[in-house]
């Protein structure tokens, strides 16, 4: 089963639009598909801006994992509703197959360990492809996916150049190499016994402690949790880059606690000095989707607004190596082909 997560850099970047496009394509190509979300999707109006949102219309045969409260509010009928043991604010996540097509409100497992569990259950239902819709700018649970689609757009930044820089940085980070299995060199792993920070680097005082443990034999430092940008910079300054690999949980772990461009800069400097970086989990970035929409909050009432779509796409293409797709302008074929070819490799 190929799991594709749709991560957004902000609200209203087009995650659900991309997901519904892929669902429709999967249906047309007769691919058995599973669907869940790490947030809440498919509702009528945006919870915060009040603007209309794209809705899920699911076809019969789609496997879904959704909270009980959502299924109760949905037009689509899902059966059987098998309890998963995963609890959300909207009730327990139930797993089933769509029998009666229609609108679906979708809230699913919203943390990583729970998503892993739900993906296992969807795998048991013979899904070839499972889509996991993201939520706002939350991404961490999507580290469980095999592949990612990054959704960004004017809702994140209306300045095409700035957005392109940032997106390029994020894409480059998502491209960080995975750790290669091999003979176990000597290293320092954060989060071992007695470490109250559980594997995260948040406290400047920790940096000193780590540096004291570095001997010439140490060739990697593994930080499985989150990393404060300032602490990372301090750590890097205190290390000899050559022969040292910094290992992180995933690019997403890095992105949550440090701005992409700052991170990109730090890692570039590290790399230029001979240092290496790797991650434990590395979902493939398949594409970046771009949405020219943004909510205009300047007036008394929130209104939909759009930047120049072509200019935005162009700017992003300059900085991002993977394909950049505006699903609404260009159609869904291009995006589907990327997923399809990835699916073929499973």
């Amino acid at each position: 089963m190929l799991t594709v997560g749709i991560a957004g850099t902000a609200k209203n970047t087009g995650k659900t639009t991309a997901a519904t496009a892929l669902l429709a394509q999967a249906l047309g190509h007769k691919v058995t598909t599973g669907l869940t979300s790490i947030g809440l999707d498919g509702e009528n109006l945006d919870n915060v801006t009040g603007l209309p949102k794209p809705r899920y219309v699911v076809a019969a045969g789609t496997r879904v994992a959704a909270a009980a409260g959502c299924l109760a509010a949905s037009e689509a009928g899902v059966e059987p509703n098998v309890a998963s043991g995963v609890r959300t604010p909207l009730g327990e996540v139930l797993i089933g197959v769509v029998r009666r097509p229609g609108h679906l409100v979708l809230a699913g497992p919203n943390k990583r360990s729970e998503l892993r569990c739900i993906l296992d259950r969807l795998r048991d239902l013979s899904c070839s492809l499972t889509l996991v819709d993201g939520a706002l700018n939350r991404m961490v649970p999507l580290v469980e996916a095999d592949a990612l689609i990054l959704a960004t757009g004017a809702a994140r930044s209306r300045d095409p150049a700035a957005l392109a820089e940032e997106t390029g940085a994020v894409a480059a980070l998502l491209d960080l190499p995975a750790v290669l299995p091999g003979s176990a060199p000597q290293g320092i792993v954060l989060g071992q016994e007695g470490d109250t920070t559980r594997g995260s680097l948040l406290d400047p005082a920790q940096v000193g402690v780590i540096l004291e443990r570095v001997t010439p034999e140490v060739s990697y430092i593994f930080i499985p949790g989150i990393v404060d940008g300032g602490c990372l910079a301090t750590l890097m300054e205190g290390l000899r880059p050559r022969g040292m690999t910094l290992v992180f949980g995933s690019a997403l772990h890095l992105l949550v606690s440090c701005a992409p461009r700052t991170l990109h800069r730090l890692l570039a400097t590290w790399g230029d000095s001979g240092g290496r970086v790797a991650v434990c989990r590395r979902p493939d970035l398949l594409a970046v989707t771009v949405n020219p929409f943004y909510p205009d909050v300047a007036g008394p009432v929130v209104r939909p607004a759009y930047v120049d779509a072509a200019a935005l796409e162009q700017a992003l293409r300059q900085k991002v190596k993977v394909p950049v797709v505006d699903v609404v302008r260009a159609g869904t074929e291009a995006l589907w082909r990327l997923v399809e070819s990835r699916l073929a490799r499973e």
Partner: protein
């Protein structure tokens, strides 16, 4: 003091720049329950909070933050950081604050969301890993008996005596009379069996004579299948869709309760859009939002028609046609705890409607001879006989009935309308039925002219309820709806006036009230479901506000109560002077032309002597 389960370690963290009262309240409840709490100072960063959670070994982290534009991303980022740091393997995280809902909590990635109005117990349940169970009342609503506990004893002996005399004369006159309406009712009572009809069995005996007892419209229906031009039969597809819809809604409907600490008043709402589908859709909405009972409104032409037609009929204009099928469909769609009233208070089918409603399981009916004759267009003698028998059948079918003083809306002063109401009610008591008094809480023509409500809507309405209580120990159910003619097109104003009248009614400890939607007075067309919810929601809030306290009427209420009592007594005496209830209606004693009341003409000269008295 430990409540249940293990001792939990809870970290409470205000993300707001200012300390949050909500967290402090929750902390107190958690401490009392024996849990180990740490409350962080406000304005710490996400990283610091996560570190604190690890240091404490927290099982639960409760964050508070007011939502606003841009804040959602901050909170979502917190959830992500906690996940990436591995904190979510160790602790559940809840988010609370203004504008937080469960939906938002799901979107932001938390394990629980607590918005304004969340009871502290719900947060404690979250910490302890239990499902929060709100009041049991929500899950199991019971159907009340409005007349329970009332003796119908006349507290005012003088008035009781006068009413006795009126009723004596009236019963003697009416018992020996019949009308086509009564004949039809008796025929239906004898030969039309609900069980047989439901089972689709032949009721040939019924149809043998029934059409002949009817007027043109129904007779044409039975003989030739002709429908009233403004009606049509619901299609097979519409029937099925209605059944599906009811089943779908039933799966998820949990009826709310409007009442707070007071058990009463029970709240009734009206339906009768003409379309059975719309009616049922409205009824389910009403039930879900707390209505205790629903009242059937039928078309006005029904009152002028001799006989009832059949079929699952939709009507183009206001009012849903009374047919066995239409009534049955409504009954089927109701929740078990919902009270159902089918009105029979005017028109040529008064008696037969009571019989049909009784057979189909209605809980209540409505009968008012004076109103039906003086404001409802039916001939007084005709309606008096029909009403007399209708009351008998109401007793037989164990259906309490309310007696509503709708003639107040024509302009008849309350004291006269009350006299008429009391006479009908006294007839009910005499015949072993259980009447309910329904005075109007309205800005009636009488008060427009005489100024009883220039200052407030409290005193005169209170006087009405109090005078009735003073006279007889009977249930009181202000209608119809309360606040009538105080509503405007302004939705907020309309909802508020309904709620305030509800609050007054509750203060007066009445048994029930009828409320309208916020757009009923002005809708010029369909009433919306949203407008239904408006007034139910407002009424619930009024009950919450009032609790067990009361609005206190002023001294003018006492003044008007005395005036009303004197007025009623005088009218009853006048009734006796002119020879009884029926002559009194013709001669304007219970409401005259100047008041705006006119003896009706429908069914004139249709009263005959019975073959045998009953």
């Amino acid at each position: 003091m430990r409540i249940m389960g293990d001792r939990k370690k809870v970290l409470l963290a205000p993300l707001d720049p200012v300390h949050d009262v909500g967290l402090k309240m929750i902390r107190r409840a958690l401490d009392e329950a024996g849990h180990d709490t740490v409350l962080l100072p406000p304005d710490l960063g996400a990283g610091e909070i996560i570190q604190a959670a690890f240091r404490q070994g927290a099982d639960t982290v409760l964050i508070s933050r007011t939502l606003g534009y841009g804040v959602a991303e901050i909170l979502a980022r917190f959830a992500d950081l906690a996940d990436a740091a591995g904190l979510r393997e160790q602790a559940r995280i809840g988010i609370g604050g203004m504008a937080v809902t469960r939906e938002l909590a799901a979107e932001l990635g938390f394990d629980g969301g607590f918005g304004p109005g969340t009871p502290v117990e719900e947060a404690v349940a979250f910490v302890e890993g239990r499902e929060y169970q709100p009041q049991a009342a929500r899950a199991s609503k019971q159907k009340p008996d409005l007349t329970a506990g009332y003796s119908y004893r006349f507290r005012n002996v003088r008035l009781g005596g006068l009413l006795d005399q009126v009723v004596d004369g009236f019963v003697e006159w009416a018992a020996g009379k019949t009308t086509p309406g009564v004949e039809r009712a008796a025929w239906r009572d004898r030969w039309w069996q609900a069980e047989a009809w439901l089972a689709g069995q032949n009721q040939d005996e019924f149809y043998r004579r029934y059409p002949d007892l009817c007027g043109d419209l129904p007779r044409d229906y039975y003989r030739q299948g002709k429908l009233h031009p403004k009606t049509r039969v619901m299609t097979e597809r519409e029937r099925r869709r209605l059944e599906d819809r009811v089943a779908l809604v039933r799966e998820r409907l949990v009826p709310r309760q409007l009442q707070h600490t007071r058990r009463k008043p029970w709240v009734f709402t009206q339906y009768g859009t003409g379309c059975p589908f719309m009616d049922v859709a409205h009824i389910k909405t009403l039930e879900a939002w707390g209505a205790d009972g629903v009242i059937h409104f039928d078309p006005s032409w029904g009152a002028r028609t001799e006989g009832l037609v059949e079929g699952f009929l939709s009507h183009q204009e206001d009012g849903s046609v009374i047919t066995p099928e239409n009534l049955h469909r409504v009954k089927e769609a109701l929740e078990t705890a919902t009270l159902w009233q089918v009105r029979a208070h005017r028109g040529l089918n008064t008696a037969e409607t009571v019989v049909l409603a009784g057979k189909l399981g209605a809980d209540l009916t409505k009968i008012n001879i004076a109103y039906g004759a003086l404001g409802g267009g039916t001939d007084p003698a005709r309606l008096a006989v029909d009403g007399y028998h209708a009351v008998r059948w109401a007793a037989q079918y164990r259906m309490p009935f309310d007696v509503v003083t709708n003639e107040e809306l024509c302009g008849v002063p309350a004291y006269k309308a009350f006299a008429g109401m009391l006479i009908t009610a006294a007839v009910g008591v005499r015949l072993g039925a259980r009447p309910i008094l329904q005075p109007l809480f309205c800005y009636s023509p009488e008060v427009m002219v005489n100024g009883q409500m220039e200052d407030d809507y409290v005193d005169y309405n209170a006087a009405k309820v109090r005078v009735l209580r003073e006279i007889v120990d009977a249930p009181v159910w202000p209608g119809a709806p309360i606040g009538f003619l105080t509503h405007s097109e302004d939705r907020v104003q309309s909802s508020l006036t309904t709620a305030l009248h509800a609050m007054l009614a509750a203060s007066l400890d009445v048994d029930a009230i009828t409320i309208a939607s916020s757009d009923e007075a002005y809708s010029r067309g369909p009433i919306t479901a949203a407008a239904r919810i408006d007034t139910l929601r407002a009424t619930r809030e009024a009950f919450r506000f009032l609790g067990a306290t009361a609005v206190s009427p002023g001294p003018r209420a006492d003044f008007w109560q005395e005036r009303l009592l004197a007025g009623i007594e005088q009218v009853l005496k006048d009734v006796l002077v002119v020879g009884g209830f029926v002559p009194a209606m013709y001669q304007g004693v219970l409401g005259n032309r100047e008041d705006g009341a006119y003896p009706g003409r429908a069914g004139a000269n249709t009263v005959a002597e019975r073959a045998t008295a009953c």
